[in-house]
C-alpha cells in the first residue's frame, strides 16, 4: 500500500533515530521548508 509518487506529497512518518551521539525521534514534517534527501538501505553492517 505504497502512497509515494513523484509530484505528490511525501507520506509523513515518525521514527526513532540516532543523531550526533544521541537518541531522538525524527519526523518528516520537522523539515518543512527544507530540501530533504530520504534514503533507505537494506541493513547496517552489510557490504554495499
Amino acid at each position: 500500500m505504497s502512497s509515494a509518487k513523484v509530484g505528490a506529497k511525501a507520506p509523513e512518518f515518525e521514527a526513532p533515530a540516532y543523531y550526533k551521539g544521541g537518541f531522538t525521534t525524527v519526523k518528516l514534517s520537522d523539515f518543512q521548508g527544507k530540501w530533504v534527501m530520504l534514503c533507505f538501505y537494506p541493513g547496517d553492517f552489510t557490504f554495499v
Binding site: S2, A4, A8, P11, Y19, W35, M37, F40, V48
Partner: protein, 131 residues
Amino acid sequence: MSVDSQFVHKVWNDQELSKMAKKDIPFYMASDGGGNIGSLYGVYDPEDGVDYRGRFIIDPDGVIQAMEVLTPPVGRKFNETVRQIQAYQYVRAAKGTEACPAGWEPGKKTLKPAPELVGNVWKVWDPFTDH
C-alpha cells in the same frame, strides 16, 4: 533509514562508518522497524524483511520530486543525487520558466519552454556540447 534499531545505527557509526568517513555521520540515522515506513514508500521487501535502496528528493513543500530504487547488490552514485537536487533547486527558483535538459549541471544551458521552442530544441541545444 533501515530496519535496524537506532542502537545498531550507533554501533555501525562508531565501529565502521566513522572510520570510513573520518568523522561521525552528520545526518539522522532513522529506524524503520517492521518496515512500515518502507512499505509506505513502496521500498520494503517483506520476504527478506529489508528496505531496498530507495532514494527520495523531497522539496520544501513536502512534495516528492524524484525517486530512485535499487535492489540490494548495487550501490548508488551520490553525485547524481546532488546533480538532481541542484537542478530541482534551479527550476524552483526560476518558477517554472526554465527547464534543465538531459545531463544538465550548474552553469550549463537551460531551456525556456515556449511555443516557439516546439520542434526547435535542436537549434538551441546540442546534446554533444551543451551538457
